[in-house]
Amino acid sequence: MIINHPILGPRDSQEFTYLGDASLIDRPDWQADNAADQFCDYLYLRDNPAGAHRELWFHEQGDRSWLVVTRNTVTHEILNVELARDVARARGRSK
């Protein structure tokens, strides 16, 4: 698989390590009343779709940036690549 890095251009997926579903960006509020339930779901439950899947890849052998890659889990086709930093900021995170 070739991942089209937003800054570095097309890179071999072997340069990256894989973490998992990009929902891991959305860490729950630890002060919420149901924080324990929210964290349990956040840590352990996954949508695991067959089809488009937004996921976190780390460019370990490159610029060490985190990317949000949208990839089809049935065909392995990569549909979109974004910097995780931009995705997090767009969701209101400070970094």
């Binding site: 439950l45 996954r46 899947h53 049935v74 392995h76």
Partner: protein, 416 residues
């Protein structure tokens, strides 16, 4: 029709005209006591033991493709009982004991071959871990022997003992482990279940569940609605896709694992060798092909095929361990989809929906578990209580903090 040596001779003398189809091909009835989703090894074993152990024969196994076409036909056929933790080892030991009597039990030649499994160690720390694991196995009624370098050399003199990175310092030998003809497991269970009245319905995909007031009343399928008192999902690899139709999110990711077969060779390898440090394991099939595999591709996938970097990684692992492999030509490779759970251990449990049961999360250990999985799932379906060796396989164990994490990796499914 019972199979026997006498029957083979009789058929040979009469032109093989007496063989009959091994199972029927029925249309689904309007309703059943139990509908099992998934005609793989585990689903067919569940149906077999429901009928045989509990006398529940008004059962259908529905399969979207053909039986045995999923992971029971895509694995590397290894059976073993060499787990460490109390939540796991009694279950896998039951499974191995069932394998030992399986062929006589269901009157089908599954070619169970207890040829021994050797886990190699390369450091003092690994030797300590192997000793601890071996003791845990023995405490749970399994068998284990710790070999030193000479012990391994006597068994497999052709290994590379002086690899600079991973010199072989010994191994943990599990003599009762081995291999099985995997397709025959599906066929044997299918035949045994069918003979007892279970309907095996192929080319019938589940498209939804009918759930009213918190109770599951049956399944919608491509062959129409099928009612059921109890619905049992048993579709490891596709668990999230199926259970999503019942509104469930699971502690599971689907990952692809590749396996490989070489051209046929004369007998060179009489057991199973695992080289965990190099992400490689190998055995030789009765046809002569070397059967081997390695690591996951590491990313979520439903593709039943992997990519080339892992092919290269597995071949490098093989060459590091067995330099003679360099002369061997690869014949085939394939991928199977694993339910990778959050702690590396499976589930056999009820769900929050009354009458809906779940079996899955087998990671890459589903094949060896087939008999015990069917045995324990049938027990749960028949009695509504977990079998005593499967009490830890609950869906809520993460919430309770009772994970069964053999490798201590935490909630990162691709590392288990």
């Amino acid at each position: 029709m019972r199979y026997s040596g006498l029957k083979v001779i009789k058929e040979a003398l009469t032109g093989h005209k007496g063989w009959r189809p091994t199972w029927r091909d029925p249309e689904p009835k309007k309703s059943y006591d139990v509908v099992i989703i998934g005609g793989g090894g585990h689903g067919l074993a569940t149906a077999y033991y429901l009928a045989k152990n509990h006398g529940i024969t008004n059962v259908a196994v529905i399969e979207k493709g053909w039986i045995g076409g999923g992971n029971v036909g895509r694995n590397t056929t290894i059976i073993r009982s060499n787990y460490l933790l109390d939540g796991n080892e009694p279950f896998y030991e039951l499974s191995l004991k069932l394998w030992e009597g399986l062929e006589q039990d269901f009157n089908y030649n599954a070619m169970v071959s207890q040829r021994g499994i050797l886990n190699l160690v390369h450091t003092d720390a690994q030797r300590d871990a192997a000793r601890r694991r071996g003791n845990a196995m023995i405490l749970n009624g399994s068998d284990a022997e710790l070999l030193d370098t000479d012990g391994v050399r006597a068994m497999y003199p052709f290994l590379n003992f002086n690899n600079a990175r991973f010199p072989i310092k010994g191994g943990l030998l599990h003599r009762r482990g081995g291999t099985v003809r995997h397709d025959a497991v599906a066929w044997g269970y299918a035949r045994g279940a069918d003979l007892r009245g279970v309907d095996i319905i192929q080319n019938c995909e589940v498209t939804g569940f009918k759930i009213e007031n918190g109770k599951c009343l049956g399944v919608e399928t491509t062959k129409g609605f099928i009612g059921a008192n109890k619905v049992a999902s048993c579709v490891a690899g596709s668990s999230s896709r199926v259970m999503e139709k019942a509104g469930m999110r699971l502690p599971i990711e689907s990952h692809v694992l590749q396996a490989f077969v070489s051209e046929g060779l004369k007998p060179v390898l009489d057991g199973v060798i695992t080289f965990g440090a190099g992400h490689f394991y190998c055995s030789q099939s009765d046809k002569g092909g070397l059967v081997f595999g390695g690591d996951l591709d590491m990313y979520n996938s439903y593709a039943q095929r992997g990519n080339l970097p892992v092919v290269e990684d597995v071949m490098e692992g093989g060459m590091a361990l067995i330099p003679a492999l360099g002369r061997v030509r690869m014949l085939r490779s394939w991928g199977g989809i694993m339910d990778m759970s959050m702690d590396g251990s499976p589930f056999i449990d009820k769900t929050h929906v009354d009458g809906l049961y779940f079996n899955g999360g087998w990671c890459y250990g589903g094949f060896k578990a087939t008999p015990a999985s069917g045995w324990c799932y049938a027990h749960l379906l028949a009695t509504d209580t977990p079998h005593k060796v499967a009490t830890a396989y609950r869906l809520d164990r993460f919430r309770r903090g009772c994970m069964i994490d053999e490798k201590g990796q935490g909630a990162q499914p691709n590392l288990h």
